[in-house]
């Protein structure tokens, strides 16, 4: 767990837009179980995410946290229970899957930009072909988001010409171009050089400030403290503990959580 960091972005968070809805549910997971062949990776997961929530999922490696968020856009299939995203239940019906994927953005640990396309093409491909947006409009939107992640000058370059931090910011912009309702982050800073973690966290914080519903698997405990409204701790495929960040860090209840926190926070 050498990539655990407690770096914080030194600025005060503007919380005026960060409102958690009391009635609208973004993601609801009910009694969900998943197996890899005979291995029970996710056990009895129950999770209700309201619109506008910012959830950080923490836990040791192999605890199933990535698998959990990958189930939310069905990159992984669950075998038991229900997952309802934006009111659509995920089943083997491919149309529903695509419907959910259109509304759920995902940022990967290894960026997964398309290396044979320019940054601009990376950003406009899905809006043009999935949403049917005209090319000029899609490019204008893409430029807007590139400016937001502060790299508009890289639009015509290829991903291989960018630094890791820049690539991850492009990946975030690529998801935002689809105008998603929910963003999933799967260890977005784990593959970055230490110097570049901050620029990516900064973008994620500004997203949170705009009220985006976010589920982040991350080891950035500083980010969790500053931005999350709920921290979920997982171990061995189960949700062990969840709480508000302040209480979670200062007063963990479960033995496993205490051990985990004692090892990552010095």
């Amino acid at each position: 767990m050498s990539d655990v960091s407690v770096a914080t972005v030194e600025r005060s968070i503007d919380t005026s837009q960060m409102k958690v809805s009391q009635t609208e549910v973004a993601v609801e997971i009910i009694g969900m179980n998943k197996w890899y062949a005979d291995f029970h990776v996710l056990r009895d997961i129950n999770l209700k995410v309201m619109k506008g929530e910012r959830i950080v999922i923490a836990g040791p490696s192999g605890s199933g946290k990535s698998t959990l968020i990958r189930c939310i856009n069905r990159l992984e299939e669950h075998q038991q229970g229900q997952i309802i995203v934006n009111g659509t239940e995920l089943t083997s019906d491919l149309r529903r899957v695509d419907e959910v994927r259109r509304e759920v953005g995902m940022v990967f640990q290894h960026f997964n930009l398309f290396p044979h396309l320019t940054i601009m093409q990376n950003l406009t491909l899905a809006p043009i072909w999935v949403r049917g947006i005209p090319k000029a409009e899609a490019e204008a939107t893409a430029m807007k988001y590139l400016e937001r992640v502060r790299i508009p000058e890289q639009a015509s370059k290829f991903p291989g010409q960018l630094s890791g931090g820049q690539q991850q910011r492009v990946a975030i912009a690529r998801s935002l171009c689809m105008n998603p309702q929910i963003m999933l982050f799967d260890e977005p800073t784990s593959a970055l050089d230490p110097e570049m973690v901050k620029e990516v966290l900064e973008v994620m914080i500004s997203l949170a400030e705009e009220g985006m519903t976010m589920l982040c698997v991350t080891h950035e405990m500083g980010f969790a403290r500053q931005v999350a409204n709920r921290v979920i701790f997982m171990d061995q495929g189960q949700i062990i503990e969840q709480n508000e960040p302040e209480a979670f860090f200062s007063n963990p209840q479960h033995e496993r959580t205490k051990l985990f926190l004692s090892q990552i926070l010095h």
């Binding site: 990967f108 997964n112 398309f114 072909w129 999935v130 010409q161």
Partner: protein
């Protein structure tokens, strides 16, 4: 200040190198005579060339009968290659039994082919889409109308009369143009999650790859009519085309599958997470990367397809090699080196085409490599 500390006070000037690091002598010493072993190998290679090249030159050039020579010149003792024979029969080698009065028709097709293909292969020429559409839709239709005739007042020329390089090129171009898309579809099918599609593709690929092309051609020519309704016949050339295309597509499928496996799982996932459907994921994200990885394999399949066209003599087509073989027995040019010259000519033609394909693919590999890397 301790002894460890050091600060440079003046910049060291650049000096000329003490020994020469360039030039012919240096190059030769480094590459040809670096050690005793190298020197021995170099000398052996030079001796080999001295042994091989002069007789070869004598045969091909100095003692050869140039085009325009007579058969008597080719019959003298110790004669070299009989190029006069090639020159006098060149039309048969190119057109086979195609009626002489109608040579303008294949010639027009050749010209159109070159006119459409060269700009298509040359990246800097604009209008690629229109160019490709012209090449793949109207051109084949025009080519069939021109070559076969029977309409627009053109005399009907049955495919039995087509031959030589014309047939070799038709089979290989059609084979190449059809085998790649078919191979891609088979590769996608083999990776598919649909069990029936997947099983069918695996069965086809494994079945075709495990029999020789000759068997496929035999089957196409003998078994295909059995499946057709009574009374319908399938043209010999079409049978050969189908056989060669299906055979190559099975190999192509495996090459493409290799390329798809080289594309990281993250690419599939990122494309899926954006909501792109299956065909768009494959068409925009996976295949462009996969095909780039396996250009050498694809071109290798093209080249073997080109050479395998010489097997269509099995179903009675007179391709270039078969045309040469036929004329090698011609009494009017009977001479000691007639057959050898014929085969050298056929080999040279095959080599010229295959080498061009190979060089062109190298060009593309280099181009794509510099495209999006630092």
């Amino acid at each position: 200040m301790t002894d460890m500390a050091f600060v440079r006070s003046e910049i060291a000037p650049a000096k000329p190198a003490p020994v020469r690091t360039s030039g012919l002598v240096v190059w030769a010493r480094k590459n040809l005579f670096a050690s005793v072993g190298d020197t021995v190998l170099t000398l052996l290679a030079v001796l080999f060339l001295i042994w091989v090249i002069p007789p070869l030159l004598n045969f091909l050039v100095f003692r050869a009968v140039p085009p325009g020579g007579t058969v008597e010149q080719c019959r003298v003792e110790n004669v070299g290659a009989c190029w006069a024979y090639i020159a006098s029969e060149i039309e048969f080698f190119i057109y086979g039994f195609y009626p002489m009065a109608e040579y303008w028709r294949p010639n027009t097709v050749f010209a159109l082919f070159a006119l459409l293909l060269v700009p298509l292969l040359w990246p800097r020429v604009p209008f690629k889409l229109a160019n490709a559409l012209l090449f793949f839709i109207p051109f084949p239709i025009i080519a069939v109308i021109l070559l076969a005739g029977g309409t627009f007042g053109l005399r009907y020329v049955p495919t039995e009369q087509w031959g030589g390089l014309l047939v070799t090129l038709i089979i290989s171009v059609v084979g190449i143009c059809c085998a790649l898309p078919l191979g891609i579809l088979l590769a996608l099918g083999r990776q598919s999650k649909l069990p029936i599609v997947k099983t069918l593709c695996i069965c086809f690929i494994e079945l075709v790859r495990s029999v020789p092309l000759i068997t496929v051609l035999f089957m196409a020519s003998i078994m295909l009519p059995l499946f057709m309704p009574q009374g319908t016949t399938v043209d010999k050339l079409v049978r050969a085309l189908v056989g060669v295309t299906l055979f190559s597509s099975a190999y192509m499928a495996e090459v493409v599958r290799g390329g798809m496996q080289a594309v990281g799982r993250g690419q599939y996932e990122a494309a899926a997470a954006l909501g792109l459907g299956y065909w768009r994921r494959m068409g925009f994200i996976i295949l462009p990367q996969a095909l780039k990885h396996v250009i050498p394999g694809i071109v290798g399949t093209f080249i073997s397809l080109f050479k395998d066209t010489s097997l269509v003599y099995i179903v009675g087509m007179k391709d270039l090699l078969e045309a040469v073989k036929t004329k090698n027995d011609a009494i009017e040019w009977a001479a000691p080196t007639q057959a050898v010259t014929g085969y050298i000519f056929a080999a040279a033609v095959f080599w010229a085409f295959c080498f061009s394909i190979s060089r062109y693919s190298r060009y593309w590999e280099n181009r794509l490599n510099t495209g999006h890397k630092r």
